[in-house]
Assembly symmetry: C2
Homo-oligomer: 552 residues x 2
């Protein structure tokens, strides 16, 4: 770890200014508090299985932080560990700052250990002691670089024992796992295991992911989503105005966000693109690849008729997984190519089913080639390498060439493609994410001091002024269900996908046909930390919370 | 054109806030002024040729706007046209606003015509009359969408006559061409032609390009460079912190900027990446592709030895043109493939020279394939489609695989690649670009009212407070030289490339070895319009103007 001065000497003016930003703490976390409880909880689904798997954790009540005249909690110093797990999201540093400041203020003399490089650091017992000086340069800064992140999972018996050994040797009272759905599932497994092993180490999760697919009634949003969507929307807004100024390009933009389309939908609400594909809608309507392509084609043709040979198309990176026929084709290709050589004449195609054959045949040649050539070390097609935005671009271009020859298309169709992902994960957190994560960290501290384990820190009422935000804990088992993964039944936190009857999608669906043909472009611009745009919530949250009822 | 209200109803909070931003005008442009003149000028080179080509324009003196008790200029209303030419750059709208406001204030009753879709609009006589209401929604906004842009050139006799016909029928006193080096060359050709034809239409150019390669002593920077570099640096800064947080990826970032590496150099000064390739240095040192690759490889190996298997590499998009052996290879390929079929056994390679053959053989297979397959309609290799960042990634990866097998490399090398370009051209202009372009437009108005033609508007002293900026005009012929293009001698404005003994490169060269191995990452964050980071100049300008002497 570099000394603080070395880091600070390279800081930009804005990085330094953000160090001075004073996060606002919800009033309920500023004063002495007590925990009150709701009724017992069940799980998202498969409650019998979840109950059997988590005998100690299952059924715990929702916890609510409430103001109290005085605290009845012991102020004996605590030893707490914290770990950052999985992909980066803006605000991770402030969760750590929140835990640290909570302990400093409420349980002085406590020690905070930061496990290095993700859950692997817990297993290997690698950590840094987090002091005020060590923490200082990371306050309100993006990234997870204070202790880095990693994707290891603590799963096998051996790994669980390694984790146990570490928390025992550090004499940890608590462990905060900052991560996405899988990491929070893992946190619950650890909580159960530690409890059953008779350890005192309590485990609290914090909801992190730019994808926005880790949320529930009590956890309205995962941190990092707001900042990432704002950064992507800045770029989309810029590209959009470029498209209108040059009036000669369609920009096909693929957006990070894994299985869910929340990021794409939020960016659409922010920028008003001409075409937005939402994976969940494609799946719900069982759209074929041809139907998806035809939707894009139809808008392009209508815009050309209106004299507009330019536009912007948003595509969620998970789209490919939502088109079932592509998954089927890929499975067949994996089987066939394991035993057959691809011949130029296309004899090998005989082994495809008729349905897959017709899907393969409408793919552009470059994508066909990619499917046949780019294979992982096990010989399988690398789905993540398939650039869906290019696939659609080329399919639409091929159709328009035919229409042009027929005389039914008189426009032009030139494209640029983009992928926005890594750019949005480590930006300086928006004021919202800076305050939200600080409150999450503070809440995690409060839950740990209150003796709770197997909870996710939850901060709510997020569209009200920050002072009025509420805090509490959601039992991790209440978010779980059983899913089949790699041939085994596994308890997992249910992914929150875009709901087609939810407020954000409904608001979008009401205006998208207008956006398609007319130019209603909106440029949110770069994240501002001061001025009138500095404290705006994202539209997904405003719509879901009922603060907004429509998009203009 | 959409009505103003329709546009405004879609605006974001920040777009609306920027409408209210009050640009600061240099004091000298606020009051009555006179033009004073320097001595006669020559040209950048080939002065005899330039003098012969521009008999009327050649040798004009530098013009300086100076305070004066009262103005001696006629206040008879003027008719002025304006056109946006070539690629977008942030601030174009404010140039138009500057011209408009100048005319409103100093020559009331004047008319401003905006030619639609670039120089093609002049030839076709397509325009919009720019009124206060029409202009309002575009003030301080990015993009060229008010009248759009285009890449047509007014070159042939026929085209010149079309332009003449338009300016005659509109009875234009002046025409402002907002564009890059080629467009300003074209502006000078038009100025000469109009003068020789006895027209009253005077022509003034304005220096626009994000590439930063249109500059001289009197024109310290082209507009849009500041905003684009700030947007790219925001993204690079984010990716950089991502790289350090995950500690598992090298990010190879290709940056827009055509032939010159100014954008890449400025972004490097802003962010302190591990590796920065500067095209002009590669050319000056006559580096081979292998040498460029070896430089990258060397840094990766050294970082791995220090336990750092991650980092950021910046690559200017024009790099490929600076490696002479690649140009030679491509020329040979174009010849060979015109007459020979590529056979799998590689017999066709016999026709390559030994030098080109060895260059071809060190290229990664995917790039070899790209060179052989992706050809334009004339059968030529599409140089612009070659993704240099991928080429380098794959070459370095291949070498590291060998080293790994030998046991001389024990690290890991995983990569992500990016291209940042269109994202940076139409952002909301930084305060600097907003003020600079407004001053340029105002200056263009002053030069036109003063009866000048064949000048580029120049605003200088740009590192001082805006009130103290100076204004004037640089004769376009003074920036010119003769270059061979498509087999013909052409007068062109000399491109300003990165100077290896200039202050920006020198400052960079002094610290890059430290940046290479150690992490000195700097995140400038998103452009701010308020707060302590809102009015920062770019480092290139600060170093060139001697305000800064080094980078920390």
């Amino acid at each position: 770890m570099a000394p603080a001065n070395d880091i600070l000497s390279n800081y930009s003016t804005l990085q330094k200014a953000r160090l001075q930003y004073e996060t606002v703490l919800p009033a309920v976390l500023e004063r002495s508090f007590k925990i009150s409880y709701g009724g017992p909880t069940t799980s998202a689904a498969n409650s019998e299985d979840i109950a059997a798997l988590f005998k100690s954790m299952y059924g715990q009540p929702t916890a609510i932080v409430e103001p109290s005249e005085s605290s009845t909690l012991s102020s004996a110093p605590l030893k707490v560990g914290v770990v950052l797990s999985g992909g980066q999201a803006a605000g991770g540093h402030n969760v750590i700052a929140g835990i640290f400041d909570y302990l400093e203020k409420n349980v002085p003399g406590s020690t905070l250990y930061g496990f290095l490089g993700g859950p692997g650091g817990i297993m290997k017992g690698k950590y840094a002691v987090i002091t005020a000086d060590f923490l200082y340069p990371y306050r309100n800064q993006g990234g997870f670089d204070i202790i880095r992140s990693g994707r290891d999972k603590i799963e096998s018996d051996e790994q669980m024992k390694m984790a146990k050994s570490t928390v025992e040797s550090l004499d940890l009272d608590g462990l905060v796992v900052i991560g996405g759905d899988d990491s929070n599932t893992n946190a619950c497994v650890l909580a159960e295991y530690f409890k059953n092993e008779g350890l005192k180490t309590r485990v609290i999760g914090c909801p992190k992911t730019i994808d926005g697919d880790l949320k529930s009634k009590e956890v309205p949003v995962s941190f990092g989503f707001d900042t990432a969507c704002k950064i992507f929307s800045e770029l989309i807004g810029n590209v959009m105005i470029d498209s209108k100024s040059a009036a000669k390009y369609y920009h096909f933009v693929r957006l990070m966000g894994r299985a869910a389309s929340h990021v794409t939908l939020e960016c659409a609400l922010q920028t008003h693109p001409n075409i937005t594909l939402v994976g969940e809608e494609v799946a719900a309507k069982k759209m074929t690849l041809k139907e998806v392509k035809d939707y894009v084609l139809d808008v392009v043709v209508k815009r050309a008729a209106a004299g507009r040979n330019y536009g912007v198309v948003l595509i969620p990176e998970g789209l490919i997984d939502f088109v079932p026929e592509i998954s089927v084709l890929i499975a067949e290709l994996n089987d066939i190519l394991a035993k057959t050589t691809v011949d130029k004449e296309g004899e090998w195609k005989k082994d495809l089913t008729a349905a897959s054959r017709s899907v393969f045949d409408i793919l552009p040649p470059t994508i066909q080639e990619q499917l046949l050539l780019e294979r992982d070390p096990h010989g399988n097609v690398q789905v993540s390498k398939i650039e869906m935005e290019k696939m659609l671009m080329e399919m639409v271009a091929a159709d328009l060439k035919v229409k042009k020859a027929e005389g039914t298309f008189k426009g032009s169709f030139n494209c640029q493609n983009h992928f926005f992902g890594y750019e949005g994960r480590c930006g300086l957190p928006s004021n919202f994410d800076a305050n939200y994560t600080y409150a999450l960290g503070y809440t995690a501290g409060a839950l740990l001091q209150s003796g709770l384990t197997g909870y996710m820190a939850s901060v709510n009422n997020l569209t009200a002024p920050t002072k009025e935000w509420t805090a509490g804990g959601t039992p991790l088992t209440s978010l779980m269900q059983v899913e089949r993964r790699k041939g085994k039944n596994k308890p997992v936190i249910r992914k929150a996908l875009v709901e087609l009857d939810g407020a954000p999608f409904t608001a979008f669906a009401a205006v998208r046909d207008d956006w398609a043909i007319n130019d209603r472009f909106r440029n949110p611009g770069p994240i501002q930390f001061e001025g009138p745009a500095a404290n705006e919530s994202n539209f997904t949250l405003l719509l879901e919370q009922g603060v907004l009822s429509a998009i203009n």
